[in-house]
């Protein structure tokens, strides 16, 4: 089956989901061969990040998709990104521990 796509528009939402075969024995091989953005699952479930289009495709293929968490397409929370100033402070602080570092730094005219 051709992929259902975001060829016309990129997805705006993804879901963390687990995917299950309805007829377990018959679908064990098929479920291993899905085109999905699979993420590890320590309990051995087939877990993936899926778009709404993925969900439709998977359901049409006879799978059950259990959505667990919606995640809108968005940039990383800016609070998680190191500022240049804090990066510089971190680096300088680590450098302070190097014996003779200041002298070397000075000699380079930094």
């Amino acid at each position: 089956m051709a992929a259902l796509d975001y060829r016309e528009a990129p997805p705006t939402m993804r879901f963390s989901a687990t995917i299950h075969a309805l007829e377990q024995a018959a679908d064990l091989n098929r479920i291993e061969n899905l085109n999905i953005d699979r993420v590890p699952d320590p309990t051995g479930l087939v877990r993936a990040l899926v778009t709404p289009e993925d969900c439709v495709r998977l359901v049409n293929q006879g799978f059950e998709v259990r959505l667990q968490q919606a995640h809108p397409v968005q940039p990383l929370n800016p609070e998680l990104i190191e500022s240049d100033e804090s990066f510089k402070n971190w680096f300088d602080e680590r450098m302070q521990s190097v014996r003779g570092f200041k002298a070397r730094k000075g000699s380079k005219g930094r």
Partner: protein, 503 residues
Amino acid sequence: MYRTVAQLDSAMNFLSSFFPALCTRVEMPNRSVQGRRIFALHMHAGSATGRRKVFIVGGLHARELMNPDAIIDLQLDLALAYLNGTGITLGGRSWSATDIKVMLESLDIWMLPCANPDGREYVMTVDDMWRQNRRDNPGMCEGVDVNRNCDFVWGVTTGTTSCDPCMETYLGPGRFSEPESRNIRDLCDMQNIDVFLDVHSFTELVLFPWGHTHTQTTDPTQRFTSLATGTCAPLNPPGHQEYMLPRDQLRFTTVAQTIVNDIRAVRGRNYTPQTSRALYATTGTTSDYVYSRHIANPGLRKTYAFAFETGPPVLNPNGTINVPESFHPADPTLVKRDAKAGMISLMQQSICAIEFIGATFLGLTTGLDSMRKVRDERLATTAAGAEMVALFERVQFPLLGMILVDESLTKEAMGLLDTCVKLLENEETVLTEREVERGLAFVDALVSRAESKELLTDLELVRKQLEGSADKSVRKVLDDLLSTPTRTLTKKKKPTKKPRRKS
């Protein structure tokens, strides 16, 4: 907190500017799809020759944000520890100043922390769950999964390798079509890498080949080289199970288990060692490609290739997995610490004490082949022999540290290694009592310096093997190693009292 691409580059730039004798920032041969320059840091100290080469890669999958940061942190940890003559402590696991010195003076370490800078930038500015690079697929969707783009069973689809350009696991229009994956191939070509690591997230795994099928060690006719590739169809034949030399499987499992032990010592996290296939089937990955190179082209050096999946799955209050938070937790400090311990553990295990002493002090280039042959073609073939190989791999790093800081021990190690090489030239040669006594004296000297219980136990096993070797031919000694499990030796003899160290 996660660093920007520019900050990651700056850190390496500073390190190479401030400490040029230890760190060199190197631009990779290929710019990213969007034209960004990509940098690695080459770390090494001292002037020893015959070094093993380790190559660590992070950030191939853009959303796995903590690994590039962990690699940068590790670069600083190593540089500062070496320059200050201190060790590195990560929670409950410590490496001494000597350990760090030995690593940097006996290895060439290449670290490419952010292999996919376009992707990282996109995660920070547009889509925090973006996985791929930023390839603009003509008229279609964007992105190629760089870790499906390598020339290893490329074009064979699995549940997590797709020929559809709109899928997150799109393998690209051709083998190594992407500059980000070509950089890995090119560095392996240029540097003859011995050990490779690709750091991913998450689930706390230490992975090793194979990833496309389950691994077997009994049927050498089942090789990937005979599989049809580029088909955009599943693996054919479907029941194919990839062969691996028993020696390689032993090496992978031994090294992975030690990495797991070292990570556990930090704060008790239990990483699992397993083949990549045990996670799920993949093709075109970096680690399978890098390990497969010497099989596809026997003229190339064998590279032992690993992958980490760092960090635990983070759970929501209702018990389900919070995937975004698992890929980039609000505070990755502890996960990064575990990852660094795993990376140092791998570096440590990349050192071959015999090869280092042989090449650096004795100038041996071909003389060690006979020893490798014994290890790979004889010892690795029986359970008892494999135990001895594993024992040697456990003890070699701490022993090398002891030997290199003591001139008399270094000299004696050189002499014994020279003797071993000569003995292996003719397996009918009989070991003299004097040669055995010399070996025992060396073991005693090491015992007198050893601190850990495990090391003392292992040295005791070596001593026991050596004790019965006088007046036996080399062949007989090897046969004994192949047939006597080290466990039996343990039961036979009480540990000897630790000799008093000479003042």
